[in-house]
């Protein structure tokens, strides 16, 4: 079935600048797999070399962390929303970089 994945700001450059991606899946694992299939640049930011989800990236099904559900095997239904929540530390400092970031 078709569900939505919310892409956080730091990862949008690797997801074609989109904030929401629709995927087809029955579990969270399948949803993430479809996501990186559609946007291969995302793979190294979400997964380590051995295919495990990176420890500084959390995945939520609605408001619950999948670590406390069934992880990759967590089933999803049509109205569910998967959120990717990476750790962020702060803002950006230089004016030059700010100017590069905005049109």
């Amino acid at each position: 079935m078709s569900i939505k994945i919310l892409i956080p700001t730091p990862l949008r450059p690797y997801a074609g600048k989109q904030s929401i991606i629709e995927v087809t899946a029955h579990t969270v694992g399948e949803a993430l797999a479809d996501l990186v299939a559609q946007h291969p640049d995302l793979r190294k930011h979400l997964f380590s070399e051995d295919g495990k989800l990176r420890s500084f990236v959390n995945v939520y099904l609605n408001d619950e962390d999948i670590r406390y559900l069934s992880k990759d095997a967590t089933p999803v239904k049509e109205t569910d929303i998967v959120s990717i929540v990476p750790s962020v530390a702060g803002g950006i400092q230089t004016v030059a970089q700010a100017q590069k970031g905005f049109q």
Binding site: T9, E64, D65, A89, T94, A96, Q97
Partner: protein, 390 residues
């Protein structure tokens, strides 16, 4: 829920009663609540983007003791969002600037200043004098340091972080609640999270999140409302949408779990993978240098040169030539503060550390980085003899 500080013998003068009248007439505060605020001791780590609104509102609310930790100097580019600091403060220590404004808003607040880098050697001692810690820092190493120190000290960590136009807020390190490591057990390795690839932060964003932090601090002190314990608020300022995710206490958390393995503060730079040293083999090319006389001539001619100082903060306090301070060990994670299109002259005390910094920068694509021969000692010798040497 029970409030954090015991009701104290603090009393309110007639002046204070008038000042806080809009608090006192609310059932959620009252005289008793205001006295709790007065008895409370809150430490603000950082007086920048998040720290500015945080400290401003805590001072206005009448928090009795405010600790401020910051070693940084006000930079022109800070003014877009760090509303504690004015144009006339550029070049001043942020602490000095902050204390002026906070005292002007509320002279009843006692301010304790810590002109220092928070680190594993001083954190626990500094935290011991406070009831609540509010984390307004901008790098992973300090966030993990603050978190661990809060858990070890038994003090709650009111947390917020921002990125461009999104923010997060929560309360970590309460006894029954999760800590930062329950949410993120490990930091990203440097260079992998594209936190600086696009650049920029909406000036108002830390305002929004900093006031959320101040609100949570006040709620903890008063013991009212529903605090963000076990709740991560996600703010998208562009959409103006607030979402909430549940944060669970991880029973196997190495810091706050049932069997903690982290029982003292560690080396957080190492934890975050920051080494700052390239291998010996990479320092093969000769490091381009500039003599102090040449730098002086070009600075006087108002050429666009960025001076980078890679010494430690306590050295900067002794003497400096107003360079932008990034200690050598922090350079890899703070490299985003530099603009590779500008000419950068790097200096340290005598030229050795800065040579390593230039080598690292050049390998990272900063082709216009050069080393100041002889460092600040040579400058004090030959260019400005009024400067102290050490």
């Amino acid at each position: 829920m029970a409030s954090l500080t015991e009701t104290s013998p603090a009393t309110l003068s007639n002046e204070e009663i008038l000042r806080y009248s809009r608090h006192l007439i609310m059932p959620e505060v009252t005289m008793e609540g205001q006295k709790k605020l007065k008895a409370a001791r809150v430490l603000c780590v950082g007086t920048g983007g998040l720290g500015s609104p945080l400290a401003l509102y805590l001072a206005a609310a009448g928090v009795g003791t405010l600790g401020l930790v910051d070693f940084d100097v006000v930079d022109y580019t800070n003014l877009q969002r760090q509303v504690l600091h004015y144009t006339s403060d550029v070049g001043r220590l942020k602490l000095d600037s902050a204390i002026d404004k906070l005292t002007a808003i509320n002279p009843f607040v006692e301010i304790k200043r810590f002109d220092t880098y928070l680190n594993s050697q001083n954190a626990l001692e500094i935290f011991s004098g406070f009831d609540i810690i509010a984390d307004g820092t901008d790098n992973f190493a300090t966030r993990y340091l603050v978190n661990d120190a809060c858990v070890l000290s038994g003090k709650p960590n009111v947390y917020a972080s921002i990125f461009r136009f999104e923010g997060q807020a929560s309360i970590f390190a309460t006894e029954a609640g999760p800590c930062y490591r329950c949410l993120y057990p490990e930091p990203p390795p440097p260079g992998l999270v594209p936190s600086c690839a696009e650049g920029g932060v909406l000036g108002v964003l830390p305002g929004l999140l900093g006031v959320i932090q101040a609100t949570e601090v006040i709620k903890l002190i008063l013991g009212v409302g529903e605090p963000l314990i076990g709740r991560l608020v996600l703010v998208d300022a562009l959409a103006m949408r607030f979402r909430e995710l549940r944060v669970r206490k991880n029973p196997e958390c190495p810091v706050c779990g049932a069997n903690p393995t982290v029982k003292e503060l560690i080396d957080y730079n190492q934890f975050c993978g920051i080494r700052g040293e390239e291998s010996e083999a990479s320092t093969s090319a000769k490091i381009p240098e500039i003599q102090p006389e040449e730098l002086k001539r070009r600075l006087d001619a108002k050429e666009d040169i960025f001076v980078l100082d890679v010494r430690e903060p306590h050295e900067y306090q002794i003497v400096n030539i107003h360079g932008h301070l990034i200690p050598l060990g922090d350079l890899p994670k703070r490299i985003h503060e530099l603009d590779s299109s500008r000419e950068i002259v790097v200096h340290c005390k005598s030229g050795a550390r800065s040579a390593k910094a230039v080598d690292f920068l050049r390998q990272s694509g900063f082709k216009r980085a050069t080393n100041l021969t002889g460092g600040i000692l040579a400058w004090a010798d030959r260019i400005d003899t009024s400067l102290p040497k050490y």
